[in-house]
Amino acid sequence: MSTSRPTKLGEAPKYAIILFVLFFAFYPLFVMFCISFKSNEQFQANPWFFDAPSQWHWENWGVAWNIVKNYIANSIVTAVISVALGMIMVILTSYVLARYRFKGRNIIYYGIIASMFLPGTAATLVTLFWLIRSMGMVNSLWGIIIVSSAGGQIAGIFILKQFIEDIPKELFESAQIDGASHLRQITTVVLPLSGSILATVAIMKFLGVWNNVMLPLVVLRDDEKLTIPVGLLRLEGEYVKQWGEMMAGYAIASIPLVIMFLFTMRWFVKGLAAGAIKG
């Protein structure tokens, strides 16, 4: 971006800064893999780098898999259903808010936006917990699913509404003349055009649900119902620490996210930039 002809001397500090930051960003990732192949003794002796491959403890991964597979299944079910339900609500609402003017529209729109500026504190967790309890959903994944699909809609609605407003009206009108219903207009006009934005919103929501610790921590009790963060937390707390197995467990817990990112990375980088510029 610099307009002057780049000199080697001028560029070096920039690379140095970026590489320094990236090193620390990736270091936990490296440590995780490195230690996941070690026994406690090997970790004690050499925490810095991989040992010779012949001494790798592959069985750490097997043990860890048996521990966390249940948690992962729970997390995937929770996250997928929450994101699906949440996205349906986000799309429907932002479609209506972006396209129509009617009585009560502003109240609803500002009501939705305002709740973003009413931050939840730990006290909200208290009342939310008792709400879930009175609905009889304590110690059930459904409690988590319903709450998380309702939460985190605001940012999605905010971004998507602006995006739909920018879609030329003629597209909707011509669909209308063809007799398309609301749902049909959404599937034929909105969805194809807003792919990358939708993907970004969905990924952010997925990450939010996947990383949610507090709600599952207070709502879920039984070991077979825990989601991955609470499961890992329990593992870290109760286990006589087997570092290799723990780190392998952490790595396995990250794999679903890796897979998701592999498929959506391109959209995500694009959508993040677009959304950030608008917001």
Partner: protein, 506 residues
């Protein structure tokens, strides 16, 4: 609904002459109710899971609520207890320290984004940009637990690294032993007479010195209007007297007085914000004022403001306005710097921790080391998403601006302050708001790291964690709700102030 529904985008074909024929009205009703039907899930879920719990907090704050056993209306009792609860107020002291730390921790992100933006090679920028997204695949909790493992006393990488590089010996040398204090405790001891002597006499404590410096600097940063100055002075003196009296009554156990004092403080902060305009320095002032609040010397704050005003006024009288501005600015900066040095060397490492001599300090298990460990956490404090957001702001800067700057001979460092920073102020401001709210309400991190009691000696007890502990461990749910209300009011106040006074200078 029927009449205004006519504004709806026309959908019904075959328009009639009159607006109010029955079929037409029915058509509108049908259209609009269909729209509401589409939004129904969102509306209901927002009401039930977002608004209801928050509203319930407000209601339950007035109850003694221990579910299953007792639920009775007790009026303001919870709030009175909250204001008199030392643990709750101490937790705000920690928040203030963390806010200051986070304010500093924002900079590496901005610097990284600028470095990324200025790279000559577009290809490398894209590669780095993608690389910055990759660490997001680690779930937040895993990242937290891995960092926690770094701090382990025996296995942890941090202690190993320190031992390997000799950092541990250095720390041990600085720390010394209980019998024979090392360098840092010795410096603290030798500074003690100055801090307890002249500094305390003049400024009431080191924090007072910092606040004084910040106030003076804000004075220098703003324009001169005699009437505004007078108003400010009157306001300041009035509030000084009033808060002094109220704090006095609070000490005697009068909790209504405490509530009024709290209102007084809020008014004071708002009046300062109004009179000072958009200034970065103000944030130091507020944060330090917060520390002060916790030190129970609140009444000295307006006095210092008054002194700073007088100083500003006097210097302006002696020289011309522009020279005065510089002089006042430097006076303020000097007292902030000296104050910081006093805090760093005279207040923090006062006694020997005795943790380093055996080479395995328990960073999260010792009451003196918890705070440094939390502040160092996540080094070098670059949130990768934050960098990308800053970058997208930076990329909107047109190259003309750079060309103009180059013609004027603006160096690379000055370009940061004269071009890049002003142009990403929107993003910085958004980040600032979220950072402040986040720091005030955070508790997950501390719960996972230190447990519900906030670690050794309650050193890591933030307000949110205290709330959690009161509710889920002590069973005082109503009290937790009242604490939540207090915290919520603070957050709301800060948000409003940010929105109104931290303006974007274009």
């Amino acid at each position: 609904m029927t009449q205004t529904a006519i504004k709806t985008t026309p959908t019904a074909p075959g328009s009639s002459n009159s607006k109010f024929t029955l079929p037409r009205i029915l058509a509108r009703v049908k259209t609009v109710s269909l729209l509401y039907l589409l939004m129904f899930p969102t509306i209901v879920s927002m009401l039930v899971f977002s608004y209801y719990p928050k509203l319930d907090v407000v209601i339950k704050a007035f109850y003694r609520w221990e579910p299953g056993q007792i639920e009775e209306f007790i009026g303001l009792k919870n709030f009175q207890d909250a204001l008199a609860d030392p643990l709750f107020w101490n937790s705000f002291q920690l928040v203030v320290i963390l806010l200051v730390a986070n304010l500093i921790k924002m900079w590496p992100g901005i610097i990284t984004a600028i470095a990324l933006h200025r790279l000559a090679s577009d290809r490398w920028r894209y590669i780095f940009q993608v690389a910055f997204v990759i660490p997001m695949v680690i779930p937040g909790l895993v990242w937290l637990l891995i960092w926690k493992s770094f701090y382990e006393p025996d296995f942890g990488i941090l202690n190993r690294f320190l031992t390997l590089t000799g950092g541990m010996d250095l720390l041990s040398w600085l720390d010394g032993t209980k019998e024979l204090p090392g360098v840092m405790p010795n410096i603290a001891t030798s500074l003690a007479p100055i801090i307890n002597g002249p500094v305390t006499t003049l400024f009431s404590s080191v924090w007072g010195m910092l606040t004084f410096g910040a106030v003076v600097m804000t004075c220098a940063a703003r324009s001169v209007e005699p009437i505004a100055n007078l108003r400010r002075a009157v306001l300041t003196v009035g509030l000084a007297v009033c808060t002094y009296l109220l704090v006095k009554t609070n000490v005697q156990g009068n909790s209504m007085g405490a509530i009024l004092a709290f209102v007084g403080v809020v008014l004071f902060v708002i009046s300062i914000a109004r009179s000072s305009g958009p200034s970065w320095l103000l944030w130091c002032l507020w944060m330090l004022a917060g520390i002060w609040t916790c030190q129970e010397r609140l009444y000295m704050l307006p006095v210092l403001v008054l002194v700073a005003e007088v100083l500003n006024f006097a210097v302006r009288k002696m020289t011309n306005t522009i020279a005065a501005k510089d002089i006042v600015k430097w006076v303020g900066l000097a007292s902030v710097i000296i104050g910081c040095l006093f805090v760093a060397f005279g207040k923090i490492w006062v006694t020997s921790t005795g943790q380093f001599e055996f080479g395995s300090p328990a960073w999260l298990g010792n009451k003196d080391l918890v705070l440094p460990a939390i502040i160092f956490w996540g080094f070098p404090w670059v949130g990768t998403v934050g960098v990308l957001i800053y970058l997208s702001g930076l990329q909107q800067i047109s190259t003309d601006v750079y060309e103009a700057a180059e013609l004027d001979g603006v160096g690379p460092i000055r370009r940061v302050f004269s071009i890049e920073l002003p142009l990403i102020m929107t993003q910085v401001r958004i980040n600032l708001i979220f950072m402040t709210i986040g720091t005030l309400t955070a508790y997950e991190f501390f719960l996972i790291l230190l447990g519900a009691a906030g670690g050794p000696g309650n050193k890591g007890m933030v307000p949110g964690l205290y709330m959690y502990q009161q509710a889920f461990l002590q069973g005082k749910f109503g009290y937790a709700c009242a604490l939540g209300m207090v915290l919520f009011m603070l957050v709301l106040l800060l948000t409003v102030i940010y929105q109104r006074y931290v303006k974007v200078e274009k």
